[in-house]
Symmetry: C2
Subunit: 407 residues, 2 copies
């Protein structure tokens, strides 16, 4: 059998993790490359109780559900949007998906034609870029600064290309960890409004913010583009989120919130993609969120305290001699530190050497759609525990020293 | 905001269920339209025990898993392929998906270009047709008979169009319930082999077979095309299945089994589509399947006895006067009876009338990609209980009588 795959498969790459495995001779290594939450912080006992209650209560939780997703969970999300983010959303404006990745994929399937220019922040996370490539989009990176994507560069590209779509993550941009200023949020929304550019706003990391600031204060100072656009009534913003980082990833429950017309089109795509996500997982999550033994706000505060501690340890380790010529900003939230390597050190060469020693990171090159980024690496600080952090950072430090000693 | 959706969204239709709701003034009705298993037969207590065990055993079950799916569950499937179906499959040849719907969608995304002719059985299930339309395929229906798709018609279309893909379900074709003969299976495989046509074989209904015949005897007499093609070594057949009908739908666990090269390409598409299906659900299913309190073979035998009883009741009801001029074959398995209406009775007109009375079925027109089928309806017999069967068939019978009395 000679297979004749569709042309678009040529744009597909395997995941960064597989890329790394291909570079490594080892079976396992300490990984700062992935986007994993800490499993020792999962709310295990509450989940166990919720699973028992949901299964025994009614077999309906194990039957097919609605393609749009379990209504009580969508209503819970509306309540949470209102209470924590001051955003008025209707349950009809929400589609539950298999993680935020599927929310982005469904949007791309209904909105992006082959050849369409799509603007993304530079650097940007590799996961969503793969989706855009598969749809045949022409990915156009737009540089930014410490306040977010550059409005001048954005305006230029919008005028030049008349793109249909802009993809951003204003709350702790992946990989840089930048938290956009309020002024920048307004500017970007205004530019897109005047030129009919749909914005996909990924808020997968927004709840992970440090410094002991509460959710209301955080979202008050950093309202989402979706909220600034009147929560979908403006229609300019599709807002994407997920329970993967705040509860557990394996329930694979994310969402897209936006204008009803856009959401209804995405529901049709959802039906053909997989008919619906797990109704059981959605019932389980809803039970957990409404349960008296679990308070998600306190749970997130606990996560944030713990992740901030891990971030502090990592930044301490970055002060050690081996790392002396690197540069980075300490992020106020999210899961990553974005590190600029000492001059002339290539991230892929460093990765090979680190993997031989037993430690991995995400090479910056994977975050630059059209080349570049070889001077950067992304380090995850949420998954490794204290000992792994110490050992892994030592191993990468050793690898850096080998290169810098040579030059 | 003016949305400019991708052209392909014009080919999307909402689901048949939504189509029916749009015809109905009622909020609820007895539905013979859907493809639901009976929830009163779900293995509730075994699932509850499995959930508790999986969650308490290790938080790893709640972390991200592998895009290809949980290895022990893939290995269980290989064991089951070997024991019940005599097919030698390797765990690397299996991709776990969000139901069989996603298996088909991923294959279409990596294999079908806009304009590609794709052959399907006529009539065929609406769910998979939507996928093909979204990919821009030109759907070419091929008629069949009581032994399966017609080899003469298939040969003609293969010669005429040189299609890349043929979609079939030899075990209880949805909607007709036809069980292909062994000779027909061999003929179809031979035609596709000589002309490089990839076959997607949907076995979602294969385990639901009646008459008290065991799985080994059933699959011995009706080997899958996949098995006849040396279980993927030939590369000609992608075999699709699901736990939705045999365990529960809400765990959303299906699979694609095929040649490694094809599966590896689909894994890349899976990653970008949703990164992975629920690792928790896969762990839960695996625990259940290996548990001493649950025997899936006995469970399926119980389902088959119960579903056969419901089928018998439905065929008894089809003997009532209101139904006297309909025609149908009693299927040997699956979930549906495919009924030809009395002459000049249009299924959509009948559906409107039935819905007003409070009962629904799938109109045959939805199973004909290029028009036709208005003289057929599909009745599901697995979900409605005894009382619903009696009442619903009465209501549809009344609707038929109103039409036939007029003519």
């Amino acid at each position: 059998m000679r297979y004749s795959f569709a042309e678009r498969t040529k744009a597909m790459l395997s995941s960064p993790i597989h890329f790394m495995r291909s570079l490594s001779t080892r079976e396992s290594f300490i990984s700062f490359a992935e986007e994993l939450p800490a499993e020792e912080l999962f709310p295990i006992s509450s989940l166990e109780a919720a699973a028992a209650a949901v299964i025994s209560k009614s077999p309906a939780a194990l039957q097919y559900g609605e393609p749009q997703g379990y209504l009580p969970l969508r209503e819970w999300l509306c309540k949470d949007f209102k209470e924590r983010k001051g955003t008025d959303v209707d349950a009809g404006q929400i589609l539950l998906t298999t993680g935020s990745q599927q929310a982005m994929d469904l949007l791309a399937r209904v909105y992006v034609e082959p050849g369409d220019p799509v603007l993304v922040e530079q650097p940007t996370a590799p996961g969503f870029m793969q989706i855009l490539k598969m749809q045949g989009a022409s990915i156009v990176p737009v540089e930014g600064d410490a306040e977010g994507i550059s409005p001048e560069r954005l305006q230029e590209e919008v005028d030049r290309l008349k793109p249909k779509l802009l993809l951003v993550s204003p709350n702790f941009t992946n990989p840089t960890g930048v938290l956009w200023s309020l002024a920048r949020r307004r500017e970007v929304l205004d530019i897109c409004k005047t030129r009919n550019v749909l914005i996909v706003e990924d808020n997968s990391y927004g709840d992970l913010h440090f410094g002991g600031i509460g959710a209301k204060a955080f979202y008050g100072g950093h309202p989402s583009l979706f909220s600034l656009d009147d929560a979908g009534k403006g229609g300019q913003v599709l807002h994407i989120g997920s329970f993967s980082k705040t509860v557990v990833p394996a329930l694979r429950t994310g969402w897209a919130a936006g204008n009803k017309k856009l959401i209804e089109t995405m529901i049709m795509a959802k039906q053909l993609a997989d008919w619906q996500s797990s109704h059981f997982n959605q019932c389980l999550l809803h039970y957990l969120l409404e349960s008296s033994t679990f308070n998600i706000h306190e749970h997130i505060q606990m996560l944030n305290r713990e992740y901030e501690t891990r971030l502090k340890l990592m930044t301490e380790l970055l002060k050690r001699p081996a790392w002396k010529n690197v540069r980075y900003d300490v992020p106020g939230g999210g899961m990553f530190i974005w590190v600029k390597l000492p001059e002339a050190l290539d991230c892929v060469a460093l990765l090979k050497c680190s993997l031989d020693k037993g430690a991995a990171f995400l090479p910056g090159t994977l975050c630059y759609p059209n080349g570049g980024g070889s001077e950067y690496i992304r380090l995850n600080f949420t998954h490794p525990g204290r000992d792994e952090l110490l050992l892994g950072m030592n191993l990468i430090g050793e690898a850096i020293s080998e290169f810098t000693a040579r030059s």
